[in-house]
Amino acid sequence: MVAAQAGDRRSYERLLREITPFVRGLVRRHCNNHHDIEEMVQDTLLAVHRVRQTYDPARAFLPWLAAIAARRGIDGLRRRIRIARFETPEAGVYETFGDAAANNDMDGVRSAQEVEALLQHLPPRQREALEALKLRELSLVEAAAASGQSVAALKVNTHRALKSLRALFGSGGLDEPKG
């Protein structure tokens, strides 16, 4: 970690690969869904990256790492509880219609300017997530590294951004484009 603080990429990548199984083991105590476990492992690695300047070589490394993993575990758990409490799966999301045009929610949006105008109505973090994942088509990992948002936060913000856009159309808050 000391070498990583000095900017030694090779040592840093080796360290991250060596701690990943340890972090996975810690995360497994809180969670048994494989997808959530890996998401929390990635969140922990991102957090390690973000706070690497706080590691003090005079102190043990593993308690520092375990504290970060525990914190991200608690945050992840809270997020899942919050989502589970307020959001329910919408069966209609996956419904398809005979009329091909009806399957395309954004069918009416004809130009990049119109999309841009819609995005301006979203909170910054939701807009950032949507732009990174849907418009620039970055992977979750790339978008997380670029934006500083965690993988889980990106997913939540993208979901909320899409929901907000639908609500904006539905409420007439915007001039809904005509198909």
């Binding site: 990583a4 603080q5 000095a6 900017g7 030694d8 990429r9 090779r10 840093y12 990548e13 991250l16 690969r17 990943t20 494989h34 997808h35 890996e38 998401e39 492992v41 990635q42 690695l45 991102l46 957090a47 990256h49 973000r50 706070v51 690497r52 300047q53 706080t54 590691y55 003090d56 070589p57 005079a58 102190r59 308690p63 520092w64 790492l65 375990a66 504290a67 970060i68 914190r71 991200r72 945050d75 992977s139 979750l140 990992v141 790339e142 997380a144 590294a145 500083g148 948002q149 965690s150 936060a153």
Partner: protein
Amino acid sequence: MTAEVEALDETERLIDSLGAELRPVRRLAPPARRALRWLLVVALVALALILRFAHLDIVAQRLAQPRIALECLATALTGVAAIFAAFILSVPGRSSRWAWLPVPPLLLWLGASGLGCLKNGLSLHGPAGFFGDSVHCLMFIAGASVPMAAGLFWMLRHARPLAPLPVAALGTLGVAATAAFILQFFHPFDVTVIDLALHLAAVAIVMGVGLLLRRPLLAAT
């Protein structure tokens, strides 16, 4: 490719991208040393203001009374302890029990102030009416807390605390208690119930604002 393998592959790619964007960082000094730096700067500024503007003879008379001296000491200790705890908890791996550090001096501060109120007969009216100069106390604590909190949060955000709530709570308690301690040098009358209530209201306001703004102020994610 199964979802499980895909997720593992994504973790591998994350490690590669974190490695690719690795830049050298300046290691933060130990939290206690950073707390001392903040306290030292505040102490120097406060000392200059006290020497320039305070009526030192009145201060000396007040501090000659053991209860008031104890109240001042407890207020200062609350500030110092809360600031130390905030810096310590801003970095990962430290026991959350540090959050209790300012509690004993805080209780002593409240106790000594409460005794003062009892001694003054629980009168709601000070020499200058119901609120008297107490509103100025509130404004002093709230106003002095702003620049101190700005400096404190600027230092704390270097650690990018993963749990901003206790850090913001302790930091703002420390700032408000420090402001209340400095106020003692510009506070020529003994505490009344209203006075104590407004002091506590000022502390609550400072803590409330700090907690509300904790995420942008601490740049936490």
